[in-house]
Symmetry: C2
Subunit: 220 residues, 2 copies
DNA sequence: ACCTGAACACCGTTCAAGT
DNA sequence: ACCTGAACACCGTTCAAGT
């Protein structure tokens, strides 16, 4: 019966997944839990803490996946572990689009978040990144990763179809030579972007960034 | 008098800067403009479009700064232009903390946003990044940059003071060897982080990433 | 201890009515 | 064309009251 709180979080998660974050109101969560809105407060404190709880709960889904990775880590290269974690995180975010932007407002300091961060730490250490640089590089990599999926699910990355007004504006600006970069790249700015391939290519670049950080460190 | 819309956006901007994004309600904006809430609708369409308008307007503040940079670009290295843009953007975001997360939900396709993107395009081309790779690398860099400032103003990056419960949990996990990475890095995880210096170091890494992307391209 | 009902001070938006 | 007033269907949260 101490799991009243879990029931509430389950209801909130389900609501967010089904109808988006803005459908998660105290009133709606309460109704789904079969209780009065006010009955939520002793359990979750406030709406802000409810959102924290949802995030915390979601991150537990990410941990089993990479716990397995860590277990098989004896022979595993740090590269494959980091890539697997990146893909697991992106997949999780696609399944719960409400979570991505929320991640920018909370330090990753819950037990499960720390476990994920720890996995990145050990990978970076294995890669040879100097210990003094590891926390920064971890933040760099995870900032990129959260930002990428936030862009995908949030609407910053849209494949192709701009609204006609925006498209005409861009075309006009290019014609007027106000945008020389766009003009030079016209051939490569054709709409459909393969976001899976882009994520992969970005990971390649980040792996190289990590290797360079490792080399910089050992040379001093 | 066609500037009714601008008056409304001014009021919304001022409200967001002074009391945060959640203080920007149609009712509050209307009151500040000296008009009925319903009078806003013909001008801005809806609340979502009001937020779009605010963002669009904010980006015009970024453009003059780098227009100057582009003008002095004859002798300027792409590195100094990119760094200056990064700093201008970070400073702008610190002055308007409500804007950062909003950026993840809109394609950068307004005239002023395109001008900023164009500056990055020309810098990357000058750096020697293959044209086919430039749009992707631009998105990688700007995703990192928006993510960094969103983390700063949103609360993901907090210097030091965790709440006691969280801190105890972390310490316990480290003791229990559940977090080997944290344990190995203990010395480097002491609280006060210099976020200015971290941003600088990240920019160094990204410059190297760009140089590597340029070298990869020319070698094939 | 845990829950309820009513209330307070808000939201965004529709719609008919005024000028 | 532009604005208003009233209304609808919501919010998060406080507080006194019930068991």
């Amino acid at each position: 019966m101490a799991d009243r709180r879990q029931e509430i979080l389950d209801a909130a998660l389900a609501l967010a997944d089904e109808r988006g974050l803005e459908a998660v109101s105290m009133r709606a969560v309460a109704e789904r839990t079969g209780v009065t809105p006010m009955a939520l407060y002793p359990q979750v404190g406030s709406k802000a803490e409810l959102l924290d709880g949802m995030l915390e709960r979601l991150l537990t889904e990410l941990v089993p996946a990479d716990a397995a990775l860590a277990a098989g880590a004896d022979g595993q290269d740090w590269r494959v572990r980091l890539r697997a974690l990146a893909h697991a995180f992106r997949k999780l975010a696609h399944g719960h689009p409400w979570a991505a932007t929320l991640l920018f407002s909370r330090p990753s300091v819950t037990p499960d978040a720390a476990r994920v961060v720890d996995l990145v730490y050990t990978s970076l250490l294995e890669a040879g990144v100097p210990a003094s640089e590891v926390p920064r590089v971890e933040r760099l990599v995870s900032t990129y990763m959260i930002g990428y999926v936030a862009s995908e699910v949030g609407g910053r990355f849209v494949s192709g179809e701009l609204n006609p007004r925006a498209r005409r504006g861009l075309v006009a600006a290019v014609r007027a030579k106000a945008l020389p970069g766009h003009a030079a790249l016209a051939r490569w700015l054709e709409p459909p972007v393969d976001w899976d391939a882009e994520f992969e290519a970005d990971l390649d670049d980040l792996m190289r960034l990590i290797e360079t950080a490792a080399a910089q460190g050992s040379q001093t």
